[in-house]
Symmetry: C2
């Protein structure tokens, strides 16, 4: 079983309006709600692939209850309750594009964080891989992911976060970190080439670093070598959630002990399949099967 | 006790952002939530005045539960549960002004509406006045307010709604209807003068019609005469909720049997006090006391 952590989930709300007019009043013609958060996207992709998965994290208030309701029928979930209100994100889609409004996350108390850490520890014992995705909520310690990696013990860990949280997590020796190019650039002074940057990040403590470059594919620095894996063509669609699909593939490959070149091919194909699906956390399984044989992987 | 009905309440959410940029992504710096809906504003104003009041209506889902939580500490409330999700309104406030997004209301089933009507009937027996405010939710019959007015029997009713719902309500003979000038113009072909229009609306079935004209005050057509009541000066502030404060004053005056000129003076003063308060449903009680003696009322 793969355990995904979403420490700062959200109720993702999408409003459909004709045209967004600043300082106007808009009747929303359609409302869509979805349980949001990177770890939940990873769990949904794994669930769609038939991979055993369990989603955990922290949920609170009426918004948290709604997120829990929306998870019904999806991947199994076991979240820890908090007193604060789980945040919402509101995306207003008009004929042009989407306009986003992101609420800050709820403040988590020291006692709530401790309860979550204890819950995580018991779930991680039964897991083959743990996946730590996204931001930590206000009030959680900045080295929260480092603590979870340490507590996971012999269960391998994948981390997809950024900033100080990523820096702390690297020092705890995770098996894989998956920054995107911008997150990597914010972490260290760029060395000039994608593979050198991945190697430099790896020296901060991870067993392997996989950097996502959007339609340019993945660059991986591992103990057994460095690779670049690319899709055969750019897939049109919604790139939100592509990184989460990549992490889902890496988690599955890590659990199965798949060799790195195959693991990366799978991650590139599944990322492309996420771009082709309209909603983050969904994947186009037909495209995934079609594109996978044509993904190219070269050793660097 | 004054019973206020909010058939289509909302969770009013306000987001603070620096500047709204269409198709951009905004981190929300502050989130404010409030139990919204015209009937709830009326109940809050009456509660602030120390007037016995009870708020009823329909609430559902996680958003309805949140509205219920937010009512704690305010006026007493007794809402009927529905399966649908109570709607939200999102107002994005930037340095310029606010941009509003209004969700459609939840669909109410025939059984849910019947349960509400039954609940209303029992509460109305104990009420001195019933106040019916705002829109009806999808699924409620267009003559829903007319039914409630009839069921209230000898308990007098005030109606503040618009369109077809207002037209049906008028035919059921409410004691007072309170359209604004635009709602009145949508109801009938304007006769050319505010008092003639109020009289024309009264002939559609109401015992009295009070038309609100914003900073221009109120025009009333009643069985005992017609009046115009005006504030001594225009009050700067937020006009949202001023109509609800007006209705609160009219309900209190109707319950107490206050003569029309005094009732209108009170309604103009309380409307001005609502404009001076930053949030809909709040009133500036100091301004209310200060401005009340200077409100002018002339018989037309």
């Amino acid at each position: 079983m793969i355990l995904t952590v979403t420490a700062n989930p959200a109720l993702d709300v999408t409003y459909r309006v004709a045209t967004l007019v600043p300082h106007g009043t808009h009747r929303v013609s359609a409302v869509a709600e979805r349980a949001g958060g990177k770890g939940l996207n990873v769990a949904r992709v794994l669930h769609a692939l038939g991979e055993p998965v369990l989603a955990t994290g922290l949920l609170g208030g009426a918004t948290g209850a709604r997120v829990g309701e929306l998870l019904a029928g999806g991947p199994p979930a076991s979240f820890v309750p908090i007193a604060g209100e789980t945040r919402r994100t509101v995306a207003v889609a008009d004929d042009g594009d989407a306009t986003g409004f992101w609420e800050p996350g709820p403040a988590v108390s020291a006692g709530e964080w401790a309860a979550f850490v204890s819950h995580f520890r018991s779930l991680a014992e039964a897991a083959d891989v743990v996946v730590l995705s996204g931001s930590l909520p206000p009030g959680a310690p900045v080295d929260g992911y480092a603590t979870l990696i340490t507590l996971a013990g012999s269960t391998p860990a994948i981390v997809d976060t950024s900033g100080a949280s990523l820096r702390h997590a690297l020092a705890a020796g995770p098996d894989i970190v998956k920054p995107n190019a911008a997150e990597l650039a914010a972490l260290l002074a760029p060395a000039g080439s994608p593979v050198r940057d991945a190697q430099a990040a790896r020296r901060l403590g991870a067993e392997a670093v996989v950097v996502s470059h959007g339609p340019g594919g993945l660059v991986a620095a591992t103990a057994s070598g460095c690779w670049r894996s690319r899709p055969p063509y750019a897939v049109a669609g919604n790139p939100t959630g592509a990184g989460d699909a990549c992490v889902a593939a890496l988690a599955r490959g890590l659990a199965a002990g798949t060799p790195w070149p195959d693991r990366l091919r799978d991650a590139v194909a599944l990322s492309a399949a996420a771009v082709a699906a309209p909603v983050a956390g969904d994947v186009d399984l037909d495209l995934y099967e079609r594109i996978r044989p044509d993904v190219t992987t070269e050793e660097l």
